[in-house]
Symmetry: C2
């Protein structure tokens, strides 16, 4: 993978938390990051993950608020509610709260559209595009990927609930109406992306099983006839034991077909939870076969806004867009707070 | 679920480790347990999990042996090999070994047939029925369920490799030839069982996602048109916080349709890894809907051979067979060593 370079557009983020309005009164935006990306007509669209948290309640000091979307199976309605728990006496991770063996998130993420004509300046919708609304989304929807197949934009995303994170699938043709297909991979799984065309007649999807007991961080592939039902799961590649990808390894945006095979942008996370970006190449006709991968990451968190934020030391990409000159606009989440832009070029 | 009783056939196991011959020279059988079960003609068939370990090598004292099935992608051949590592200086769990961040199993399981005319006395095949042979089976195949759908016996099983445990599927019509369908649910997942008939035109399967980070022990359901590709994953029921099912909760053998709905035998595991058996009832037309469940376990490890063995304090069932009088023969693994028999009756 020596013939690719990934360099920052400049030293500033293209989107920051302050650019985004909260979706609900009583909530604050903690970050707008990890966008999916695609071309739509003459626009470039980002589908941002917006993380929000309830504002402090002056009447309930020394509490931690947990936002949960509760689903009523009788009415089919989902309702956003806030639970408050006493603040732990011990130091704690501010993103999660464990009470009586149940882990909660202190923020709730939804997916929000942003639109641009130049790929750099974006107008952010005031309202969510996809807000948690299912029992398996009670803790939020996160980290989308958009893949255009024929005339439909398929959106894979992480659906999180008290039962863990799984892979949800939705589709749209106009980015106004969106239809949920359902949970296509059960917990614990994340970072799924569809291929933009069928391979040997099958829809293909990469995904990242999470580790429980035995197991190592790895990327898997599976296939489907209809996009709803998936099977023939196979291991594709795993962490090589290098420090930067020791703890996690997962696919980024949709793979892109090149003369050399399917080009894949992926992330690794180190034992100290630092996220970096790298490239891999999969066989054109057998994308479960790894052909090549980066020997070292192409982008690591270096700038202050990549190193400091809601979750520090992260560059994470789940959206890229082809340019007419053959280069790629790579959008990446920075420190779970804002969005950076880098350019991928082939030498 | 008050109208069911589950009582032991007698106080002895029906099968013990010593009844089973090793499948390979140089190996010893550690246990024969957790059998799937079904009627086949006028026989009752068990599909046992047989766990084997390499015998000590006098030339390599103070080592721990790890059996691994290595798959050669070029030839498509799988080969059983033994790696030996220096024995750790610290006390360790004898079932697993972690070296440089990779967890290995110290035993390798395969599936072995046993046949009976009375359901109590079994003849055990000398050779494996399903031996690990795929990359995702390098650490073994475990804990099968058999579900007869039309004229085919579908076998779900846990396929374990260095990338974790997933759900493999195979099928047979004669219990002589067996055809693998592939991995139908990726790691980390276990304890999957198919329903014996379609519901609303779909094949249905229960499964148990394993917990990683956020999440609680729970049983899920999914559906398929062809048995190969699965989707529409939904949470069915989870641990209620009772001690006996605090750590794990998973489906047993295939659900059985009764007048009240789908009857399910399931297991719970406590925080101290003690496994017990209980019942649940799922809606006939919407089996993702829980109707009822046991308030307390129906069978817990009490006898010496249930409390002492390769893994102590386990009663675990993945096989049951209907009797002409309306009762059920419930075969259960005891302490990961032998097999017990209990009778399920409706009052």
């Amino acid at each position: 993978m020596k013939n690719y370079t990934l360099r920052r557009h400049n030293d500033q983020p293209i989107l920051v938390t302050a650019d985004v309005t909260p979706s609900e009164p009583g909530f604050a935006v903690l970050g707008a990051f990890n966008p999916a990306a695609c071309r739509f007509g003459n626009e470039i669209i980002l589908l941002l993950r917006v993380a929000e948290a309830p504002l402090p309640d002056p009447d309930q000091p020394n509490t931690i608020a947990v936002p949960i979307v509760q689903f009523d199976p009788k009415t089919g309605e989902a309702e956003l509610m806030v639970k408050r728990f006493p603040e732990p006496a011990e130091p704690y991770d501010p993103r999660v709260l464990t009470i009586d063996g149940q882990t909660y998130l202190t923020s709730l993420s939804h997916l929000r559209l942003a639109r641009s004509y130049d790929g750099v300046h974006f107008i952010i919708d005031p309202q969510p595009f996809l807000f948690p609304a299912r029992p398996d989304e009670s803790f939020g929807v996160e980290d989308a990927r958009i893949t255009k197949i024929d005339d439909t934009y398929w959106i894979t995303y992480t659906a999180v609930s008290e039962n863990g994170p799984g892979v949800g699938l939705a589709k749209t043709t106009d980015f106004v109406h969106v239809e949920r297909v359902g949970m296509v991979l059960p917990p614990p799984n994340k970072d799924a992306c569809l291929f933009p065309q069928r391979v040997n007649g099958k829809l293909m999807m990469l995904h990242r099983p999470m580790v429980s007991d035995i197991g190592k961080p790895s990327v898997w592939i599976c296939e489907s006839d209809d996009g709803v039902h998936w099977g023939n799961h196979r291991f594709v590649f795993g962490a090589l034991g290098e420090a930067w990808e020791f703890q996690k390894i997962g696919a980024g945006p949709e793979p892109v077909l090149t003369d050399d095979g399917w080009l894949l942008l992926y992330h690794g996370a180190s034992q100290t939870h630092e996220y970096a970006l790298a490239l891999a190449l999969l066989d054109q006709n057998n994308p479960g076969q790894l052909l090549d991968r980066s020997a070292a990451p192409l982008l690591t968190p270096e700038l202050s806004w990549e190193r400091e934020g809601f979750f520090p030391n992260v560059v994470f990409s789940n959206g890229w867009v082809a340019q007419p000159d053959g280069s790629w606009l790579v959008y990446y989440g920075a420190a779970d707070s804002g969005v950076g832009l880098a350019i991928l070029e082939r030498k």
